[in-house]
């Protein structure tokens, strides 16, 4: 994991807007990617990305380089994305409950099925949707971002054995879903 240069972080922390823009240029790709995979939709991913960079901006002065800047950024991203995903899930459950209760007697055309070619992005999204948020974060950071177990443990602030057990459970869930035919190979 290649980190963001220390001097850029120091300059940004002292108020250099160009340095902060440079941080955005270097980090926005992985921040947005992780946010998109965990939150599972574009609008939420954009909001998460915005929130993450505002948190970075406000807390740059208190960053003490105890961990790498990238580790810190990943941590903020994962936490913000998981919170967003959970909030969205609660709202979705409330909305679905409301829709079931109010649409009983109405004739709806919701039975129309949309047949789409599954692109690799959609395939990834459907794979990840089968996992809980903690497992999803582990798989995204390991398989897509390429973090090692040690880096994963630092980002998620968990034990290395917990990293192993989450990865194991996530992969077993993916195998199970594939064998049920939920995910087309």
């Amino acid at each position: 994991m290649v980190d963001i240069p220390k001097d850029i972080v120091i300059r940004a922390a002292s108020g250099d807007r160009l340095a902060f823009k440079e941080i955005y240029r270097l980090a926005s790709g992985f921040v947005y990617s992780v946010a998109f995979r965990i939150a599972n939709n574009k609008a939420d991913a954009e909001e998460v990305t915005q929130d993450v960079f505002m948190q970075i901006y406000r807390n740059l002065n208190s960053f003490e380089f105890k961990s790498s800047f990238k580790t810190w950024t990943y941590r903020i991203t994962v936490n913000t994305a998981i919170n967003k995903y959970r909030q969205a899930s609660r709202e979705k459950i409330r909305r679905e409950k409301y829709e079931v209760e109010t649409a009983r007697s109405s004739v709806s055309d919701k039975s129309l099925e949309f047949v789409e070619k599954e692109s690799s992005e959609q395939r990834i999204a459907s794979l990840l949707s089968e996992l809980d948020s903690d497992q999803r974060a582990c798989i995204v950071l390991r398989e897509i971002e390429g973090l090692s177990y040690k880096e994963l443990a630092k980002v998620l602030k968990i034990n290395i054995n917990t990293v192993r057990s989450r990865l194991k459970r996530a992969r077993e869930a993916l195998i199970q879903n594939a064998s049920k035919g939920d995910v087309k190979p």
């Binding site: 955005y24 790709g29 947005y32 954009e46 915005q50 990834i124 194991k168 594939a178």
Partner: protein, 161 residues
């Protein structure tokens, strides 16, 4: 090594290249001789590893940076100095007191004010009564001295004079 232990390793360290040489060799030897574990490894790679290979980083739309920039500029703007802002800042600590504490303080102040006003009015009434009594006494003295004429005051003065 037993199959369940091998599968644990396959699901984690082996597939992620985190195993040392000795353990990697042991797993490979087991897989060569165990059909079940071999099938498990194949299913794992197919469902949980290969789909995520060569996934490219996604860049956010340009307007995300514009929004961040706007938020930063908004936060950086200094507050316009005017009397109302100064007053607000001066009174701010008062409103940062928790509501229950603020309510309790208000009630105490009200009770003190109420008690003070009751005491004040009572004492005022007492003073008024005192003056009234003195006035009546003076009136009574005047009435009794008016009958004797000169009005020198006490009987002993009248005796000697």
């Amino acid at each position: 090594m037993k199959c369940d232990k091998i599968r644990d390793l396959i699901s984690t360290d082996y597939i992620d290249g985190q195993l040392n040489e000795v353990k990697t060799r042991q797993v490979k030897e087991h897989l060569a001789g165990c059909g079940q574990c071999s099938l498990f490894e194949e299913a794992l790679r197919k469902s949980a590893v290969e789909p995520f290979k060569n996934i490219k980083e996604i860049q956010p739309p340009d307007y995300v940076w514009e929004r961040i920039k706007e938020n930063i500029e908004e936060e950086a703007q200094p507050q316009k100095e005017n009397a109302l802002v100064c007053l607000r800042d001066y009174l701010k600590p008062l409103f940062s007191i928790p509501k229950p504490v603020f309510a309790a303080i208000s009630v105490i102040i009200f009770l003190i004010a109420l008690t003070s006003s009751v005491v004040f009015f009572n004492s005022k009434a007492q003073i008024n009564n005192y003056f009234q009594e003195q006035q009546e006494f003076m009136n009574s003295l005047e009435n009794s001295s008016g009958a004797s004429g000169a009005g020198f005051g006490t009987a002993i003065e009248e005796y000697f004079l």
